[in-house]
């Protein structure tokens, strides 16, 4: 056995007690960043990369940035980021072609959305009144955006755009696709052959085609199936397409959760005399959905961003308003700032969803042991 430098012949540790016991910043650095030759090299390489990238980035984004540039001239001459572009165009980016004087309405609608999300994220608020709050909130959003009552002039939904359109599509998409997906997943695992075949066919057909083609089909085919003269408006077609699309993917995530439920849970519920639907809603689904939180939220986040595809059928969500704003000659060439801003907005919402799901998983753990083994501990 070779002699170790960190213990004396009696087997007791040597060296600086402060470092050994691991307190203090120095000890942290030594343990985590410089613990071996390889790690030290990697640390140095990472520090070098950061030094090369971060100061120029900060310089471009903040120090040399132009915050105010009438006509765009100051931006063309400056070296840094042109945030003045965002300042100038932000109303178009956020609200699309909504009538200019009425912009407070979609602004208020966005605030109502954020309030609804915020309240729903608190588990202490998960009571029956939350459903009513959602209905009231959505009704208010509809009223704000469409108008036509209470002295608000009517604005047809073709003129909605930007962030408010993204939020409408994503919120209604998730709100309707989720219950539909639960029914599909239960149907797919049902004992009744007709139900099962229908659900499988639906899920596999939808999953087999890209969202763009589903949007096109909804846009083109839906009017064909309807009686003469009955027009479904474009927004509704896009919304239905998004709902149908998301439901297929969410259904598979729910089915994964259902498969993880041991047979014993079904048997215990049946032995107590619970009928199929009571067993499913009280015992099976709560556990299955909890298991499926990660893949479900994954799909929600994907759906939120997939709403940007509605541009192919002529609706202008956040990403396409950003792109359109770039077309103006005074501001062309500032694509980076534009897409950075759009990315930032998407990131705010998607990251919030992600954090919410992590907290939800933690809250629902109920004293169960952590899934992953602790690093470095035996057994």
């Amino acid at each position: 056995m070779s002699a170790r430098a960190d213990v004396n012949p009696m087997g007791n540790p040597t060296g600086n007690p402060m470092l050994r016991r691991g307190r203090g910043a120095l000890a942290w650095l030594r343990r985590n960043l410089f613990s071996s030759a390889t790690n030290t090299l990697l640390t140095l390489a990472a520090l070098y990369a950061l030094w090369k990238v971060v100061p120029p980035l900060l310089d471009w984004a903040f120090v040399e940035a132009v915050w105010d540039a009438p006509g765009g001239r100051a931006c063309r001459e400056a070296q840094g980021a042109c945030w003045a572009f965002i300042a100038d165009k932000h109303r178009f980016i956020l609200f699309g072609t909504y009538p200019f004087e009425q912009h407070w309405r979609p602004g208020a609608a966005i605030l109502v959305f954020v309030a609804l999300y915020g309240v729903s994220a608190l588990r202490s608020c998960w009571r029956p009144w939350l459903a009513l709050a959602w209905l009231a909130g959505l009704a208010m959003i509809g009223l704000l955006l469409w108008g036509g009552a209470f002295g608000l002039p009517y604005v047809e939904d073709e003129r909605w755009g930007g962030l408010v359109l993204t939020l409408v599509l994503a919120t209604f998409g998730i709100a309707f696709a989720f219950p539909l997906s639960i029914l599909l997943a239960l149907g797919r695992t049902s004992a009744l052959p007709a139900v099962r075949v229908l659900c499988v066919a639906y899920i596999e057909l939808i999953r087999g085609v890209p969202l763009i083609s589903v949007l096109f089909m909804a846009s083109v085919m839906m009017p064909l199936f309807l009686p003469e003269g009955l027009m479904i408006d474009k927004l509704l077609r896009a919304q239905v397409a998004l709902i149908l699309f998301a439901a297929a993917y969410l259904a598979e995530a729910v089915r994964g959760g259902l498969q993880a439920i041991p047979r014993g849970q079904y048997e215990a519920a049946e032995a107590l005399g619970l009928s199929y639907w009571k067993m499913t809603t009280l015992v099976i689904l709560p556990q299955a959905l909890k298991i499926a939180i990660a893949p479900l939220v994954n799909t929600f986040i994907g759906l939120f961003k997939d709403t940007s595809l509605v541009v192919v059928i002529g609706l202008f969500d956040l990403l396409s308003t950003v792109k359109t704003a770039l077309n103006e000659p005074a501001w062309s060439g500032h694509g980076v700032e534009a897409y950075l801003f759009a990315s930032f907005v998407y990131f705010v919402f998607c990251n919030a969803m992600s954090r919410f799901s992590q907290r939800l998983e933690r809250d629902l753990a109920h004293g169960q042991r952590a899934q992953a083994p602790q690093a470095g501990r035996a057994g």
Binding site: P262, A268, H366, G367
Partner: protein
């Protein structure tokens, strides 16, 4: 209370229960034992139709078990079952586990259901665990909660499918004590177990099964002292041997 006549069951081609005739009177306590694969679990699970029989008649508490869902659900309300793997609902607290069925199957109010639940939790001697989740309890405690959960429906018959087989030895006694008390109070019990001490104390009769048939049925002292058939003798030799 339970009547089985000429009951047969197949799993595919495998004939798992052959011409079973069994009677359990009200208040009678039966222990079913036998080698593994003899069909004991299947037999007990026929009583609340967790398994279906292909031929013969089963009548529980005057209700005949056919494919009729209403009859099955009526029987399940009167028959409680305790499983080897506990099968507690992990997403609910102990109290919620106990009140779920009374509220949603019997239509009790939350207050009534909680009163009954606390009563039975006290009976199984763990009233202080009411707000905990199953994962926070030991195996013995979980199984006692499972027994209390079945009792909250105030069943006429209790089925036990190897209730102590998944427990560490030091926890077996606490569960068996509860079962003995239950037996002494006059509950009709059908119990699959290898705990022969319990069988000697609490059972009115031992039913020995082998290869899908009921081979012997007799009082415990008779069974342990002088089993009538060779198969029973061989079985007893194996389990009492060490």
């Amino acid at each position: 209370m339970i009547e089985m006549r000429g009951v047969n069951k197949w799993f595919g081609d495998f004939h798992v229960l052959r011409d079973i005739d069994l009677s359990v009177a009200r208040g009678e306590k039966l222990v079913v034992c036998g080698p593994s694969g003899s069909g004991k679990s299947t037999l007990v699970r026929l009583v609340n139709q967790l398994e279906e029989h292909q031929s013969g008649r089963i009548v529980v508490d005057g209700i005949e078990l056919t494919r009729d869902l209403k009859a099955i659900e009526a029987v399940r309300r009167e028959v409680g079952m305790v499983f080897q793997q506990f099968n507690l609902f992990a997403h609910l607290t102990v109290l919620e586990n106990l009140t779920l069925a009374p509220i949603w199957v019997r239509g009790a109010s939350k207050r009534e259901a909680e009163d009954v639940a606390m009563h039975f939790l006290a009976r199984v001697r763990i009233p202080e665990q009411a707000a905990k989740y199953p994962a926070q309890l030991s195996g013995g405690q979980q199984q006692r909660v499972a027994i209390a959960r079945a009792l909250c429906m105030q069943p006429r018959v209790m089925l036990f499918d190897e209730p102590t087989s998944a427990l560490d030895p030091e926890m077996i006694k606490e569960v068996l004590d509860v079962m003995v008390e239950l037996a002494e109070e006059g509950m009709t019990m059908l119990c699959i177990t290898h705990e022969m001490g319990f069988a000697r104390t609490a059972a009115d009769a031992i039913v020995f099964m082998d290869q899908g048939e009921i081979v012997e049925r007799c009082p415990p002292e008779e069974f342990f002292a002088s089993p009538r058939t060779e198969r029973a003798r061989a079985f007893l030799g194996q389990i009492l041997g060490h």
